[in-house]
Symmetry: C2
Subunit: 305 residues, 2 copies
């Protein structure tokens, strides 16, 4: 398997497709089969995990590991743990009591197909097994200390002072008539950005990166996390449901704190460009010119869904 640290010959689209295939095959191996007891639960898990995600978080993990010289094979399972955790957050976020979304990644959401009870348990299971993957992989006692560090990094990123905190604040902000820019940034840095940053850090930790490299990777992650959310908000107002795979114009209708609502569309576009440029610069200062990381940042700014 190529290390992939060099800029991909076929461009970022080919890189993403190749890595996505690897991640999908590993997820297939890691998740219990759909007919294993209790089968409704395993079918619900598989429904949401294999609904066609971009696998951006695992790919960020793999790409960061590659830049620091690790083979993607050593990091593939932990990368899948990140996708399980991301999918858990989507399943719970889509529940009627939270965002009440019927459509996600172009298919009906978990609770629409399997009912709320099963969706809650499927989310719980993906969080549990996702964190379990970090304990289980890479195999071997020599990796124990790195695995503990990965676990602490991810738990901090997805806990009440990270992703879950961002989800909670997002719900609370719906009651505000006009959320401030500060609140908006805080919500999204936590709700979306933290898991992306943690994904990059996982790859860097497992590749044995030193503190300086980890800090640089984290600065890159902060920039692309913010860029990802700004782009998401812009897509919500500029795109349609067929392209997005989920309802469009939903955020504004729900009174959600979004970048276009707070800053306007033009200023949001400028913020997006600034963050992508800063991410590219951070990545290029890393070994191997940041490998595929600069192209991944540009992809995040240019994506259409």
């Amino acid at each position: 398997m190529p290390t992939g640290a060099e800029a991909p010959a076929g461009g970022v689209a080919e890189y993403l497709a190749t890595r996505r295939g690897e991640v999908d095959r590993a997820l297939e191996r890691l998740l219990p089969p759909g007919d294993a007891w209790p089968s409704i639960l395993h079918r619900a898990i598989r429904h949401s995990v294999f609904a066609g995600g971009k696998r951006l978080r695992p790919i960020l993990c793999l790409a960061a590991a590659e830049v620091l010289g690790a083979s993607s094979e050593d990091v593939l399972e932990p990368a899948c743990g990140l996708e399980m955790i991301h999918t858990y957050s989507l399943i719970h976020d889509d529940l009627p009591a939270l965002d009440n979304d019927d459509l996600r990644r172009g298919v009906p959401t978990c609770h629409v197909v399997f009912g709320e009870a099963t969706a809650i348990l499927a989310g719980d299971a993906l969080l549990t097994h996702g964190l379990g993957v970090f304990a289980a992989y890479p195999k071997g006692e020599k990796h124990a200390a790195a695995k503990i560090r990965v676990l602490e990094t991810v738990v901090e990123a997805i806990g009440t002072r990270g992703m879950i905190g961002g989800q909670m604040a997002d719900i609370e902000a719906e009651q505000e008539t006009r959320p401030t820019a500060e609140l908006l940034t805080r919500i999204h840095e936590n709700k979306t950005g933290r898991l992306m940053r943690a994904s990059l850090l996982c790859g860097a930790i497992l590749a044995g990166g030193d503190d300086e490299k980890l800090a640089a990777i984290d600065r890159y992650g902060t920039r692309i996390g913010l860029a990802f959310q700004i782009k998401d908000d812009l897509l919500d107002v500029e795109s349609d449901a067929a392209t997005l795979g989920k309802a469009s114009n939903k955020d504004a209708a729900a009174g959600k704190a979004t970048f276009p609502v707070v800053w306007g569309v033009e200023r949001s576009r400028a913020l997006l460009s600034e963050n992508i440029a800063a991410a590219v610069a951070e990545a290029q200062a890393l070994p191997r010119g940041g490998g595929v990381l600069p192209d991944l940042a540009r992809f995040i700014g240019a994506r259409r869904s």
Copy 2:
């Protein structure tokens, strides 16, 4: 601090009260304060964690560690992780989409006080932070391998082939007109028993127990897990809400698979006694005569709530 491995001078009630106090103080330290951002979430978490639980799982963890010669101080934080995970399972189980319970441990359930969205996120947070505690404690790189083993043990116990699987099967069994004894045992071994067994194993692993000791501890755990559930079902038909701290006669009304429904009350009582006796025998064969473990088994059979 006494090692507590000897049978407690003041009896099991005093032992339980002392350990419960230690666990409560440690939980107080480990959980973010109720005014930390986002405060509604931290208040919801504290509402459920400090609603007056018996702390049975952490105490089983501490007791198993003591029997194998560890000081309870080394195991206190991981023991609290078990209580966080137990509380997460209660919060989600009580949700309207699952068991729809308004009362738990004598106080209104999390979603009744804070709303469903917050309750879902509070459960997610307790699962996340609970597993995080196993990664963080005991501190020091020399514990890394034991911590990984604890994490793998707990994740296996609470995943789809353990606790979550039992919850799912329990919900599915409500549609059955007459659940079989086999299904009943399978549900409860997973829904209730697995986390109790894992609690004991955590203590034993952190105390450096060998495979033989771990197997003996696990046989004890299997017995008390089953005894606990039989007793729970008997209390549901024999007690009232004021004593239980939650609705009584609810299981039968909901068509739940319970031991009295499947076996009748008399046979259930006999099964309870058999399992307690077997647990006591297993414990007494351990070092230090099993310390407090025989008395804990008897307590589980005799408790009134």
